[in-house]
């Protein structure tokens, strides 16, 4: 990837890009993450690096079948192996047998029925990792193999795969007049594949038994309190006796960590009385964690002859895989955003999330919103082609703005500068064609020293706009608690918001620097003895935990300044803090923070809880979202039209960010999101065959490399404050992931003239048929 500097290296004239700020602290500055160097040098400890005296190694036995009845489990051969300390199966789970992120529908260990390839069946603790794996393999499981349900369209009529049935959620959204018909109608069928979060560090953990009969789990959890509650319920222990300690998180694109690994780990520690460690292999990682929902979308757009949208009809089918996880939420997002950031007066969107024997789906950032974006933007391209209209112009005629209604009848109250964003990417200068710029080496599709042929390469330019929600939806209690302490001129933040690479710990430092004027701010490691802060997902920590930190810091500030203000007979508001100094408005008072503290420690704890939302009703109506974020992108691609190979040359981004809190981190988030989106567009698809995961590894599951990551140009960051959000800022990580695949698909459409209705785009869909050559002679 071209690094955070790439976007700032050659800013196109007239564009606003994040600039390096000489100011080393506070909000709006490019404060670097404290752990960046250790991470770059490989010295930062992750869960896989942990060690404890006398530890045992765990291995999990997973199902080789996607659907089977378990007839018999014989653990005796494993127990008999020297070095094996314990073997656990479903029978050994003392508490709740079921777990699950939203719905508890997932057995800790399968005991009667296996519902997906890789489902845990037993776990072993042994004194060597090899012994543990051998022992797991030695467990005899007799299966009656059943026919798997792998086509989500078949799930409706298939026998129930689970006592909860195969329909996880159904939303028939009705908005407006069903009978209205547009002058122009376009239809399309779109498919989106199964993207894996593919964290760079696979799941790992260490469980340590406690003297009080409880257990501590050292894991890279992104939602420690939920993970603790699930684990405690399954262990049959009070929540206080289970402590989740969050280690460094090696990559998180959604809900990280696999409870199917954490719970067995804790069980083994409780049973053996030893610390137990597990490091998942890459294959287990692919089998264990949740993926993005594979989605099938049918659309019909109605417009008038001027290109104004009249009605959108859509059917959206999400493959939830074997268990519910967060599928209900993903479906709500997909249905609510099915029309995109456009004004549509009549919308009829029917969505289903169904159970299959495919690998479980769950929260991967941009859930639901990404899949529909690829489809509604495909429809906009189709409509433009049918009307003979410029695709950007068509979009401009329909863009949503603040005050418009979504098809859920929720009114958009936050900034929604969709038109401005689209305009910005349209006006940004296009990258030169390599033929015009002989200096630059042309990196052809297929890569350096590859098969690419300049004569067969067509360039395409495409556009996408999209939207995503921030924070939990439909009545989720989004709350976070933070504590700020100041003593001796340095401050500490205690908040259970996990730093996943999204930048929360840097932001927390910036907030405290800004409010308390101290430079040195420590962010405490996270564990579940702290009050909950919720999941590190959906951009919530900037808003909710950042808001809590700011409130706590302001309370500390008041405590610090009040005695001074009282002494000098002025109000606190007339005092300001900067660079460790407190000064009054008139300059009469000037002292340092350290002096003002007089050796005391000041503490404050505060909460932030945004305004509540409500569930969508039976017609998909309701104020389900707290906040929305928007982006527009222009993608430039080169396609080798004979081979169908594609390279994304550049992606130009304009994003609605509310307020820039850390320019360098923001650019990095956007680049990372675009790159993940490019992965979805071109290569990332965890394939299954009859429910069996194919090639679960980084050779079979291709991710974008540095050569696949496009130049990301930030054309505009619209800083219109969102008045209800903390700092007025909008979370920036998810919306680039949502829009980039749609923009890339649009560009490939423009290069090839092919429909491009499937992500990732397969080479055969990007090939342009050549006139047949004359028959060979001779």
């Amino acid at each position: 990837m071209t690094g955070p500097d790439a976007a700032t290296a050659t800013p196109p004239a007239g564009t606003r890009v994040p600039q390096a700020d000489p100011r080393p602290h506070g909000l709006g500055a490019s404060v670097p993450p404290l752990d960046a160097l250790a991470k770059a040098q490989g010295t930062f400890p992750y869960a896989a690096d942990l060690w404890a005296e006398g530890l045992l190694w765990a291995a999990v036995l997973r199902s080789p079948h996607p659907h089977a009845r378990i007839l018999r489990i014989d653990t005796a051969p494993a127990v008999a192996l020297p070095g094996v300390h314990s073997v656990v199966t479903a029978e050994d789970v003392p508490g709740e047998a079921l777990q699950g992120r939203r719905v508890h529908d997932r057995p800790v260990f399968a005991s009667e029925l296996v519902r997906h390839h890789g489902e845990p069946i037993a776990a072993v603790a042994a004194d060597h990792p090899d012994t543990a794996r051998l022992a797991a393999a030695a467990i005899v499981v007799e299966y009656e193999v059943l026919e798997p349900v792998t086509d989500p369209e078949q799930a409706f009529n298939a026998p129930p795969l689970h006592p909860d049935g195969n329909l996880i959620r159904h939303i028939p959204l009705c908005f407006g007049d069903p009978d209205i018909i547009g002058d122009v109608i376009v239809e399309g069928l779109y498919r989106v594949g199964r993207q894996d979060p593919a964290p760079i560090g696979a799941e790992a953990g260490l469980a340590v038994p406690r003297p009080d009969g409880g257990v501590e789990l050292y894991v890279a959890s992104t939602d420690p309190h939920t993970d603790r509650d699930l684990a405690a319920a399954c262990f049959g222990l009070e929540q206080e006796r289970v402590r989740v300690v969050v280690t460094g998180v090696p990559g998180a694109m959604g809900d990280r960590e696999d409870a199917g690994m954490q719970i067995p780990l804790g069980l083994l520690a409780l049973r053996t009385g030893h610390p137990v460690k597990l490091v998942a292999t890459r294959e287990e990682s692919f089998l264990g964690h949740v993926h993005r929902h594979p989605t099938l979308l049918r659309y019909r757009h109605h417009a008038d002859t001027e290109g104004r949208l009249v009605k959108v009809e859509a059917q959206i089918l999400l493959d939830a895989g074997a268990y519910a996880d967060t599928s209900a939420e993903a479906l709500a997002a997909a249905v609510a955003f099915a029309c995109g950031p456009y004004v549509v007066s009549h919308a009829f969107v029917e969505g289903w999330a169904v159970r299959t024997n495919n690998p479980p789906s769950g929260h991967v950032r941009g859930e639901g919103a990404m899949q529909v974006c690829a489809a509604y933007e495909g429809q906009m391209d189709k409509l433009a082609a049918k009307l003979g209209m410029d695709p950007v112009e068509l979009r401009m005629r329909n863009v949503m703005a603040t005050g418009d209604l979504m098809p859920t009848s929720q009114s958009v109250t936050c900034p929604a500068p969709v038109g401005e964003l689209l305009q910005a990417v349209r006006e940004a200068p296009l990258p030169p064609l390599p033929v015009d710029d002989t200096e630059a080496a042309w990196l052809l599709p297929g890569g350096p020293d590859g098969a690419g042929d300049p004569a067969a390469v067509r360039r395409g330019v495409g556009y996408g706009v999209g939207m995503v929600h921030m924070l939990g939806i439909e009545g989720a209690d989004e709350v976070s608690t933070a504590t700020v302490r100041i003593s001796n001129g340095s401050a500490t933040v205690i908040c259970a918001a996990v730093e996943t690479g999204q930048g929360f710990s840097t932001l927390a430092r910036q907030i405290v620097q800004e409010v308390l004027g101290v430079d040195e701010v420590h962010v405490a490691p996270v564990d579940t003895d702290q009050p909950p802060a919720g999941a590190s997902a959906r951009g919530r920590h900037t808003w909710v935990s950042g808001g809590a930190v700011e409130r706590a810091a302001k309370m500390v500030r008041t405590q610090l300044l009040q005695p001074l203000a009282a002494r000098f007979g002025m109000s606190v508001e007339l005092l300001s803090i900067a660079d460790g100094k407190i000064t009054s408005y008139d300059g009469v008072l000037s002292t340092t923070v350290a002096e003002a503290l007089e050796g005391k420690e000041l503490w404050a704890t505060a909460q932030c809880r945004p305004h509540p939302t409500e569930p969508l009703d039976e017609f998909g109506q309701g104020d389900a979202f707290v906040g929305l974020a928007f982006a527009a992108m222009r993608a430039v691609v080169d396609v080798d039209i004979e081979m169908g190979t594609i390279r994304v040359v550049e992606v130009t981004v304009a994003q609605d960010v509310g307020r820039v809190l850390n320019p360098r981190r923001l650019a990095a988030r956007i680049e990372a999101g675009v790159t993940q989106g490019v992965g979805m567009a071109l290569m990332e698809d965890l394939r299954t065959s009859h429910g069996l995961v194919q090639k679960p590894g980084f050779t079979g599951y291709a991710l974008p490399t540095a050569l696949d990551a496009p130049d990301v140009v930030i054309a505009k960051l619209v800083e219109e404050r969102d008045v209800v959000a903390s700092f007025g800022a909008k979370a920036a990580g998810a919306v680039p992931v949502v829009v980039a695949p749609a923009a890339v698909a649009s560009a490939v459409r423009s290069a090839t003239g092919r429909p491009i209705n499937r992500l990732p785009i397969r080479p055969q869909n990007a090939i342009v048929a050549q006139p047949a050559p004359p028959p060979p002679h001779g």
């Binding site: 090899d130 599709p445 890569g447 081979m643 974008p704 060979p776």
Partner: protein, 286 residues
Amino acid sequence: MEQVVVTPASLDEAVAALSARPEAVPVAGGTDLMAAVNSGHLRPAGLVGLGRINELRGWQYQDGHALLGAGLTHARMGRPDFAALIPALAAAARTAGPPQIRNAGTLGGNIVTAAPTGDSLPVLAALEATVVLAGPDGASREVPVSHLLTGLDPLRTGELVAFVRVPLLHAPQTFLKATGRSGPARAIASVAVVLDPARRAVRCAVGAVAPVPLRPLEAENWVASCIDWDGKRRIAPEACEAFGDYVAVACVPAPEPEESAPPAGVVQLRRTVSVLARRALGRALA
């Protein structure tokens, strides 16, 4: 479990070490072997490291041939001096994985692993290379690379790949590879094309579509007859195109029984091979 690692400094010592401990496994760059060890698929009782054997890390000339050391790394083979000698092998080496892997991975390791996607393999097949195997007690034998790969004449216990004998043809050669991304990746299909002007022959091999590289012999013969060998070695574009299709049909068979229309996967793979072969020949003759 006791593991013994020896790092001999000469080929003879290496062969002796291997004879002494037949259960030991040779390791060159370790880019295939160590991945198998780390994932638990392989638990070698001992290792014979080949990295210190200088005689395997370069090449010599012998009667119009180059005798390539098995320890040549992909990075070394990718350099211009090597590319001037055996251009297709250099081209293959340059695409055989990311730089870190190419710095360590060797020609010998690529041959012994014999992965369908081994990038040097179609080139060696097209060059009709032979492999010099060093065995216990100074025994040495030479086997065509294709015999080794197909298992017709496999590596025997205690044997090492010492050298690879490759003809020096002093004519253009190409290697092209189709992958799923722009960055380093395994081949979906690859094609090597080698010109042998002295014999007025074109030799071609297709990699990654079958367990071993495939030679489309009829297509080779046919296309050799289309080339104006005495002139500027030109070929009509239609012939080049037809060569591509010929190679593709020969190397990507439709499943039995022959149906009226081959399945989509076969059509797409044929299309890929066809374009690769056409481009590879076109570039060799350009």
